[in-house]
């Protein structure tokens, strides 16, 4: 039985549709990533779950209760905003205590609970600080504590790592996972960064144009994308649609007799492209060095092809002609060519 269920959810900004008939089931304790490019409707969906966005059609059920029309302040969901949305006129303590005070909690009970929440994100020494004086990472911890202390049924995070620098990002990622495993909280986070989604989530929901493109575990998404869109999103750079048993290319169709049944397209990561030998020929358009590997962009009769080879091998000059191949064995078979 699903814990949070979106059933035919339809959302719009004025006359512009944002999300169309979205269905999604999330289980208790799951960590879900909503992944997609900007404008795909992921943030809108999250805001609808939080009650910040009116629902045009469909239903949202949380823990067996229909919350479609429940006001945002009675939904028992938490939301950590991308900007953290801390209250600048209040101290860390008061920020965290905000929701509890509204619930009528006060005195020692309040203090204990707030301080415990602040301690759980490691900010005890900063409890009496005003929030604008704190660093981005600290602010995010405050925002997290502020949401967590309310013990929401679902905690949502909007682009939780996007405002942090690379080192903090890693730290925060671990932190989020730790918190989630410890509390068993159901969490949904929105991101446009596939690496983040792959690293954190139990399941990833890839969205596109207001609809779900694919739902799956990180392994599913990474290795078995169902559509060209998802494949492109997770790093398959060379994609050809299949038609009548042949790849549709810029030039002549290339027959693929051994294509898997039901495949609508084939996709290769740069590393899956055979480089230096094979059926095809192309010229080197650009070459970039990336430490252990070197990436070539080839101009070929099929269209552009990206290939990655061991950096230890001798480099090819720009304009050089090289052979390559696209083996079916290393390709991902896509069910949709778009």
């Amino acid at each position: 039985m699903s814990f949070l269920r979106l059933d035919g959810l339809t959302l719009a900004y004025g006359k512009t549709p944002a999300v169309e008939g979205l269905n999604l089931d999330i289980h208790r304790g799951e960590l879900i990533a909503l992944l997609g490019p900007s404008g795909c409707g992921k943030t809108t969906t999250m805001r609808a779950i939080a009650g910040l966005m009116p629902v045009r059609a469909g239903q949202i059920t949380l823990d067996g209760r229909d919350i479609t029309r429940v006001a945002a302040n009675r939904r028992e969901v938490g939301l950590v905003f991308q900007s953290y949305a801390l209250f600048p006129h209040l101290t860390v303590f008061e920020n965290v205590a905000f929701g509890l005070r509204l619930k009528g909690m006060s005195g020692k009970a309040l203090e204990d609970k707030v301080m415990a929440a602040i301690a759980s994100v490691g900010l005890t020494p900063f409890a009496q600080r005003k929030t604008p004086d704190m660093s981005g990472g600290q602010q995010q911890r405050v925002a997290l504590a502020r949401s967590m202390v309310m013990e929401p049924k679902v905690l949502m995070l909007d682009e939780p790592l996007s405002n942090l620098d690379a080192r903090l990002r890693l730290e925060m990622r671990t932190e989020l996972q730790r918190v989630q495993k410890k509390t068993g909280l159901t969490m949904i986070f929105v991101t446009h960064d596939q690496i983040e989604a792959l690293a954190l989530a139990d399941r990833i929901v890839v969205m596109r144009n207001g609809a779900i493109e694919q739902i799956g575990t990180p392994e599913d998404i990474y290795n078995r994308p169902e559509s060209a869109f998802v494949a492109d999103f997770v790093g398959f750079e060379t994609i050809f649609a299949l038609k009548d048993g042949a790849m549709v290319t810029k030039g002549e169709p290339v027959p693929v007799p051994d294509a898997p049944a039901g495949a609508a397209a084939l996709a290769w990561r740069p590393r899956a492209v055979t480089f230096g030998e094979g059926r095809f020929e192309g010229t080197v358009l650009s070459s970039s060095f990336a430490g252990s590997a070197r990436e070539y962009l080839l101009d070929t009769p099929l269209g552009p092809v990206k290939a990655e080879v061991d950096a230890a091998l001798p480099a090819h000059d720009l304009g050089a002609t090289v052979r390559f191949d696209l083996p079916v064995a290393t390709a991902a078979a896509l069910r949709r060519a778009e």
């Binding site: 900004y13 004025g14 939080a50 009650g51 910040l52 006001a71 945002a72 302040n73 009675r74 939904r75 969901v77 938490g78 939301l79 905003f81 991308q82 900007s83 949305a85 801390l86 209250f87 600048p88 006129h89 905000f98 929701g99 509204l102 619930k103 502020r146 949401s147 309310m150």
Partner: protein, 259 residues
């Protein structure tokens, strides 16, 4: 590197031009002579003392104070929700609202005063004081909306959403999160509105009646009769009062950040 001399020089001259009259008025307040003159003839407090003995000043000061405080409060009561609606809601016709609210800046005050006299006061028997109150409220409204809008723009709207998700009602979120954070803006709007109303002449020019006169109109009337430095003295007193208020506000609230 001529610019390095040019800039302070320009600034100095401009400030001299702007503040010169101020200095003359303040100096004249302490003059011992019978007319405005600079340099002042002698030194005395007699004109400052005289200000407090002129009864009509007391009365019109009260009127002006009522208009400035009441008008500014009313303008804020109307203006804050309007500014909030325009910055936080998708509001079809927001431009029309903005236009309506900013009309008082573009329509010359003397026209408004006359129009109110002709169509509110005379045919409908609207009391002059009420007409003045309405006019001053309308006059302050654009400033209230503008200043409050500016501070709302500096305040991220997701803060209210965060408050709502944490359990606050919409009004609760406004009171607990928005108001405390635009407090400075509201104070700035209040001071701006107060000064605008208090020194307002054109709107009030036609709107005076028996026993109802704003202070500037009364001062103007006084100057038409007696040309002594007591007006300078009164103006200095008022100026120092205003400056004092602004400095206090600045000290405690960092008011200039919001203007």
């Amino acid at each position: 590197m001529t610019r390095n001399i040019l800039a302070p020089l320009t600034l100095g001259l401009v400030l001299l031009f702007l503040i010169g009259p101020f200095i003359i008025i303040v100096a004249a307040s302490f003059s011992a002579g019978e007319t405005l003159a600079f340099p002042p003839q002698g030194f005395s407090f007699k004109w400052i003392a005289k200000v407090f003995t002129v009864e009509s000043f007391r009365q019109s000061f009260g009127t002006s104070l009522f208009l400035a405080i009441g008008g500014t409060l009313a303008a804020l009561i109307l203006g804050i929700p309007a500014a909030y609606a325009m910055s936080r809601y998708r509001l079809p016709g927001a431009e029309t609202v903005r236009f309506m609210v900013s009309l008082p800046i573009v329509v010359p005050g003397i026209v408004v005063g006359l129009a109110l006299l002709r169509y509110f006061v005379i045919p409908a028997g609207v009391p002059i004081l009420l007409a003045l109150f309405l006019a001053h409220t309308a006059l302050i409204l654009p400033y209230a909306v503008r200043v409050v809008s500016a501070s709302l723009a500096n305040l991220r709207s997701d803060m209210e959403e965060a408050a709502v998700i944490l359990g606050a009602s919409r009004i609760g979120a406004f009171v607990r999160v928005v108001l405390p954070n635009i407090r400075g803006g509201i104070l700035a709007a209040f001071i701006l509105g107060f000064v605008t109303s208090f020194n307002q002449v054109p709107v009030s020019l036609f709107l005076s009646g028996p026993g109802v006169r704003t202070l500037p109109i009364d001062m103007l009337g006084y100057m038409e009769i007696v040309f002594d430095p007591s007006i300078a003295a009164l103006s200095s007193l008022l100026a120092f009062l205003s400056i004092g208020i602004v400095l206090l506000a600045e000290r405690f609230l960092g008011f200039s950040r919001y203007v």
